[in-house]
């Protein structure tokens, strides 16, 4: 590791990459609206993602009102309830988490952390955002069309997704599929950009093994997304054809409500394979950027190098690769050939090993650190707790025979919310508190931030931890109301009401966060260029916020890895990546 730290001390070779010709905007419109600057695009992506995320938040309140107080809110009938859960799930997974991590953080951080002036293909990058916005608008259109949005569940399983007894069959499912197709087109444009920029756009001295883990996380996730999204694309196109022109890709012979449909010979389970071939990597597409970012947050705020950097990189890559051979663990009770269970249970549990290594290394980074309890650090710690909790319950569901009683129960809902809802969102919040000063020149308010953290972290834990246990009891998910079932004691209704009250409280805490975001823009404490004393390049820009082109006259040169915190003998407890080494013996 010493060579990684102090390497390339000698004279540097000439620039491997020519300084790029930047597009220089000439008007307000091309600077701030149809912008080709990755930083503006990042803010556009983030704003749209957070806005649509607010819609998903409101939907979650509505479904919790129904679950906690069944019958009180009569407008939440079964149709509406299913529409709420479907839209909540799809928005959170795709339009918020994927878009925010890759389109938001990816765009902002990749060029800055790598010492580039911008993305490699700025024009395509701009198109990527506008197509994403169009996808969001098409998705939202579902709320206003006759019949409303689809209520097929976020997994959109056929045949029910396109049949008459599912809400939104008329228009909702069509706009959902079209929106997904658009999203994938837009994402592919952005994704190719991120990959090429990471591979080709790094400044001098920034070797792959000196990149911050944030970039490794975003890079690996993007490669995975480019490989996984096509499966969803294909599935969406085929289902659209089944719905619109009566093909039978996913539709076998069916009698519904006494009527024989014209479909024949299709396979419902084929869709499930396509969906989860995308859907499982998708979990890690959301998780890996979070892994990367949280590594940097912990390292910076514990003033200590990330422990086991090389192992961390290889664990990311291993998780990325393995995540392509575990998809059918979502289908243990789907009726696929039972022999698959042996294979997918084994691969699924193996993936726990690199994941556990990452957890150990985060925790070992704290060991003998100098831990500052800043708001980003609090969120990073909250991430570790919720991720460990949610990851461990994954070992129940991944172990095929244990999944049999638990699948389709509230246990699953609790598990995936903890591991890919709460945990990555903790990182998003931590990252916003961390990088907001770079974007705005001002710090977010600390007191409000701590209030936001404690309510969100403890509240989310109170919501989802007990939920596992009613799932273990057999309480099914996707039920509009539990009703009278002999095996469910009345105490479950009490717990559901409790969970709903906590969920509304946690939701309210997000409004505090939004207020903080807006208020601090004007009234926040002045931040300066590097308020956290961080080593990575984005904090070393000549101006804050970084202007168009990021670096002024000349690009930074990188001399060391991203984690030179508390280096023995150094005057400060951090050495920026672009700080030249002191000659030995000097």
């Amino acid at each position: 590791m010493v060579d990684v730290t102090h390497g390339a001390a000698g004279p540097l070779s000439a620039a491997e990459v020519e300084d790029v010709e930047l597009y220089h905007p000439k008007s307000w419109i091309t600077t701030y609206v149809f912008s080709q600057d990755a930083k503006i695009i990042a803010i556009q992506y983030s704003t749209v993602a957070l806005s649509i995320g607010l819609v998903a938040l409101v939907l979650s309140w509505l479904m919790r009102l129904q679950l906690g107080f069944p019958g009180v809110f009569s407008f939440i009938d079964p149709d509406r309830y299913y529409q709420f859960i479907t839209m909540h799930g799809m928005i959170m997974v795709i339009y918020l988490l994927t878009a925010l991590f890759l389109g938001g953080f990816g765009n902002y951080l990749i060029p800055l952390m790598l010492g580039a002036r911008d993305m490699v293909f700025p024009y395509v990058n701009m198109l990527s955002f506008w197509i994403y916005l169009l996808a969001v608008l098409v998705l939202v259109a579902g709320f206003f069309l006759p019949g409303g949005p689809t209520g097929a569940g976020w997994t959109l399983y056929p045949p029910q997704a396109i049949l008459a007894n599912t809400p939104g069959q008329q228009w909702g499912i069509i706009v959902m599929l079209v929106s997904l197709i658009l999203f994938i087109v837009g994402f592919t444009m952005g994704g190719l950009n991120y990959v090429v920029t990471v591979l080709q756009g790094r400044t001098r001295g920034m070797t792959l093994m000196r990149m911050p883990l944030t970039i490794w996380g975003i890079f690996t996730a993007t490669v995975m997304a480019l490989l996984a999204f096509p499966a969803l694309f294909v599935g969406a196109v085929m289902m659209l054809l089944d719905r619109l022109i009566g093909t039978s890709f996913f539709m076998p012979a069916i009698v519904t409500m006494g009527e024989r449909l014209a479909h024949k010979g299709g396979s419902p389970i084929l869709f499930q394979h396509l969906f989860w071939f995308f859907g499982h990597p998708e979990v890690y597409i959301v998780a890996l950027p979070a892994f990367g970012i949280v590594s940097d947050l912990i390292s910076t705020h514990a003033r200590k190098n990330i422990f086991g950097y090389r192992m961390m990189v290889w664990a990311l890559v291993a998780i990325g690769a393995l995540s392509f051979v575990v998809w059918a663990h979502h289908m243990y009770v789907s009726g696929m050939h039972p022999a698959f269970g042996f294979f997918f249970a084994t691969t699924t549990l193996i993936i726990a090993i690199p994941t556990a290594i990452k957890v150990y290394n985060w925790v070992l980074t704290l060991w003998r650190g100098d831990i500052h309890f800043t708001v980003p650090m609090l969120f990073a710690l909250g991430f570790i707790v919720t991720f460990v909790n949610g990851g461990l319950t994954g070992l129940f569901l991944g172990n095929v025979v244990v999944d049999v009683p638990l699948s389709d129960t509230m246990f699953v809902v609790a598990h995936f919310h903890m591991v890919m809802g709460v945990a990555p969102i903790m990182v998003i919040f931590g990252a916003i508190y961390h990088w907001y000063p770079k974007v705005s020149c001002r710090m977010l308010d600390d007191t409000l931030g701590k209030l936001h953290f404690w309510v969100t972290f403890l509240g989310a834990y109170l919501i989802f931890f007990p939920m596992h246990y009613i799932g273990l009891m057999g309480v099914p998910r996707r039920y509009h109301e539990i009703g009278a079932m002999a095996f469910i004691p009345p105490s479950v209704a009490t717990l559901n009401a409790f969970i709903s009250v906590v969920a509304l409280t946690v939701g309210a805490a997000q409004l505090v966060f939004l207020f903080n975001l807006v208020w601090s823009l004007r009234h926040g404490r002045e931040a300066g260029g590097n308020p956290w004393h961080a080593t990575t390049l984005e904090w070393q820009t000549p101006q804050t916020p970084p202007p168009h082109g990021n670096w002024g006259k000349s690009l930074p040169v990188v001399y060391r890895w991203a984690y030179d915190y508390s280096v023995p003998g150094a005057a400060q407890d951090f050495l920026p990546q672009n700080q030249p080494p002191v000659p030995r013996g000097a």
């Binding site: 007894n165 069916i254 200590k304 422990f307 070992l395 273990l472 057999g474 039920y479």
Partner: protein, 275 residues
């Protein structure tokens, strides 16, 4: 300091909740206590890891919190420690996976003496078919479905004539007799789920899926659909009654066969002639 205490309390609270909360699995009514055993093993291993990681973290937060003049250690790697942790994790994972796979093998291997019950799901009700005296289910197909023949039993197949058809009523099962559930759906994906049996499997239009179990506890249990199947999913309920052989046979005698249901008028006439 406060953070460390809160994290320790999260662990303590979770453990206390685990042992004291009133919410736990339903009393088991099938042979799948092996599944419950595997869940218990998994709870112990994962619970230990959760407590160990979070408590260690809490300790670090307390011990290495920032104080004036503190400086972090510089330790990029520790190969030995990293490998030992990876190997230890591998052992823990194997300890959960191995029993899991053994039990899965049992779960997918149907005993030869298992009785057969066909379950048919359609929005939003359950129907059942039992092989009659010949022990064989007749062929069935979506194409044969009519209002009089809602399960689509092939009217020309002699094996199907004595099949017992149960519609709009509870299924009864014989206590202690292994049963293979053959699962069919005619419209969308459903899932026949009885929490006390621990087993479930989706039923897919166009194919036949299955699972098996042995009912080990007499009583009446809730049946619910476990796969989202449209607006009425919540209301796709039923009951299954597990009873000793004598009572089961008595119930079975009262059920109607496919042939009887197909020609109710004719059968009725014949019965009247006999009297």
């Amino acid at each position: 300091m406060g953070v460390a205490i809160v994290l320790a309390l999260v662990v303590i609270g979770s453990v206390v909740f685990h042992f004291l909360s009133p919410w736990w699995w339903t009393p088991i009514a099938s042979n799948w206590h092996y599944i419950d055993d595997t869940i218990i093993i998994t709870f112990w291993i994962t619970g230990f890891v959760f407590a160990a990681v979070v408590l260690f973290m809490a300790y670090c937060l307390f011990r290495f919190r920032h104080r004036e003049g503190n400086r972090a250690a510089y330790e990029p790697e520790n190969k030995r420690l990293e490998w030992w942790l990876a190997i230890g994790t591998g052992v823990g994972v194997a300890a959960m996976l191995a029993p899991g796979l053994v039990v899965w093998h049992q779960f997918v291997t149907v005993p030869k003496d298992a009785a057969t019950v066909e379950v048919i799901g359609q929005q939003w009700q359950w129907a059942y078919r039992l092989p009659g005296a010949d022990g064989k289910l007749g062929a069935s197909d979506i194409a044969h479905i009519t209002p009089e023949n809602p399960l689509g039993v092939d009217p020309k197949d002699p094996n199907g004539q004595d099949d017992v058809v149960i519609q709009g009523d509870n299924l009864h099962l014989q206590l202690g007799k292994p049963v293979k559930m053959l699962l069919r759906a005619v419209d969308v994906v459903h899932d026949f789920y009885v929490p006390e049996f621990r087993a479930k499997m989706d039923m897919i239009p166009g194919s036949v899926t299955y699972y098996w179990f042995t009912p080990t506890l007499a009583g009446t249990f809730d049946v619910l659909c476990a796969e989202l199947c449209g607006t009425g999913h919540t209301f796709m309920r039923g009951n299954v009654v597990v009873e000793p052989e004598g009572q089961y046979q008595a119930w079975l005698q009262q059920q109607k066969t496919f042939a009887q249901l197909q020609a109710p008028a004719r059968t009725q006439a014949r019965n009247e002639a006999k009297n």
